[in-house]
Amino acid sequence: MKRFLYVAGLPILLFFGWFVLSNGSENFYAPPLRDILRAFVDTWTPQRLNDDVLPSLLRLLSGYVLAAALGIAVGVAIGLNRRLRATVEPVLEFFRAIPPPVLVPVIMLFAGIGNGMKVIVIVFGCVWPILLNTVEGVRAVDSVQLDTAKAYGVRGFARIRTVILRSASPQIAAGLRQALSIAIILMVISEMFAASNGLGFTIVQFQRSFAIPEMWSGIILLGLLGFALSLLFRLAESWALRWYHGLRDAQRKS
């Protein structure tokens, strides 16, 4: 009960506030929440979810998984190797600063306009928090732990797997968490180009055809989607990092 209040309390309050404040709204672009909710029910039919949300989700997840693999792998390499870091960091920073919308055309040159392009756009956008956090996490591995591994001949891949990744995992988790919502954002951006279905495409389409309550309902759906995914993420994280949370909470709570 208390948990439920924590999770739902503030959102309910905010929605209620929105509902009341927007009730008499005359503004075309900020319609009453009542209308938005009605549009939500009408718009997001199972058919629509299947046609537009499902493909988006699939692209989103494949992009996210790819970004996670790439970000962690490259991040570990860069974090461990000072020279490599010095060499590639400026190039990475260069690409990181380029807005995905202007990069999409370049990606299209190489990857076409299919799902591949959209997945690459998602990867391109959400790999950064994972990469950066992995690099920092790897750099911050406790020196005594590293020495222990070295002294006992734990080297190569085993050292990375059993020591470095585990030790950096709290920070990597921070990156993965960031990347999740960025992936959703990038999903929308990628569907602004050469798309003919998808949640992002639909929202943009609503926006262009002045179906404003429908557009807001799409934004709410995005929020719900993000919330659901982050819930899943949190479950996975608390499982993978149970040692860490145990360690941090051990003295604090008990």
Binding site: N27, F28, Y29, V104, P105, M108, L109, G112, I113, M192, F193, A194, A195, S196, F201, V204, Q205, Q207, R208, S209, F210, A211, I212
Partner: protein
């Protein structure tokens, strides 16, 4: 604007897309057609209606530029806007229009009818591009329901076409000239197929401003009409002014086809656009009410 005919100059912001179509307003600004009428213009450029319409509705911009299908769409949703002057029109001649569908030189697509069942890029789905291209196919005897449209901004379309990612592209100037120069072949003039002398776009304002400051709207319309007429009569000056607000290189500027800028909105052609849109279902079953939109 408060004192109507006084000495004060109205500061007016116009939301435009920085493309060929809006050359007259830049030209008119340069020629002083607006300052003559106590209007001090500022151009705000946005990428399409998504950015411009909210700006006009909320009063951030006094006027905006948009194509008619978008305006009709807005009208069906009761967006409080009103067209105030013509914007740009099709040249009306097959093969000589400022927009059209192109394919690669070696493409098996020879006529508009062949476009049926093909993958065609348009800048925006469910808008003026796909409805008029469908009409081209329909008129040529093809099945328009089979066309597979994909959305792609004009600047990126030539690369996608050349790379074989789409089989045909609907382009407007300057991309049309650039693509043709690179070897692409024109297979349809969709604006021409849709209606004779199609009115493509218009300048519009919010219903609120129209009600509150009819005088300003009137002066703007007059200045606009003068600009349109002047631009239509002085293509060289149009080509020159393009160099100031776009980066189209000189060669392309000289080669490209300029649209027509009549001062009258061709109501019949707008009705045709409305009918085409309704036929393709882009209005969600609603019927646009032209009388509420047109001046």
């Amino acid at each position: 604007s408060e004192d109507g005919g006084g000495d004060s100059v109205d500061q007016v912001k116009v939301g435009v897309i920085p493309i060929v179509d809006v050359a007259p307003i830049y030209l008119g600004q340069q020629k002083g057609f607006f300052t003559n009428r106590k209007i001090n213009l500022t151009m705000e450029s946005g990428q399409g209606g998504a950015a411009i319409v909210p700006g006009v509705v909320s009063g951030q911009f006094q006027f905006g530029f948009s194509n008619f299908t978008s305006l009709l769409l807005a009208q069906t949703k009761n967006v409080p806007i009103k067209a105030v002057s013509a914007g740009v029109s099709s040249v009306g001649e097959q093969g000589k229009d400022f927009g059209g569908v192109v394919v690669n030189a070696n493409s098996p697509i020879k006529t508009a009818a062949d476009l049926a069942g093909k993958k065609i890029s348009v800048n925006t789905l469910k808008n003026i591009g796909d409805t008029t291209v469908r009409e081209s196919v329909r008129k040529a005897g093809g099945d328009p329901s089979k066309i597979n449209f994909v959305e792609m901004p004009f600047p990126n379309a030539p690369a996608a076409l050349a790379g074989g990612q789409v089989e045909a592209s609907w382009l407007v100037e300057p991309q049309l000239s650039q693509a043709k120069a690179a070897g692409a072949r024109l297979v349809a003039s969709n604006f021409v197929d849709a209606a004779p002398n199609l009115s493509v776009a218009a300048y519009f304002t919010s219903a609120k401003l129209e009600g509150e400051d009819a005088d300003l709207v009137k002066r703007f319309t007059e200045a606009m009409n003068e600009s349109l007429t002047y631009a239509d009569a002085h293509p060289d000056e149009v080509r020159a002014i393009l160099g100031t607000y776009t980066k189209i290189d000189e060669k392309t500027r000289a080669a490209m086809i300029l649209p027509k800028w009549p001062t009258e909105i061709n109501e019949a052609s707008v009705q045709t656009l409305a009918d085409l849109g309704a036929k393709d279902g882009i209005f969600d079953g609603a019927t646009p009410d032209l009388s509420k939109l047109l001046p």
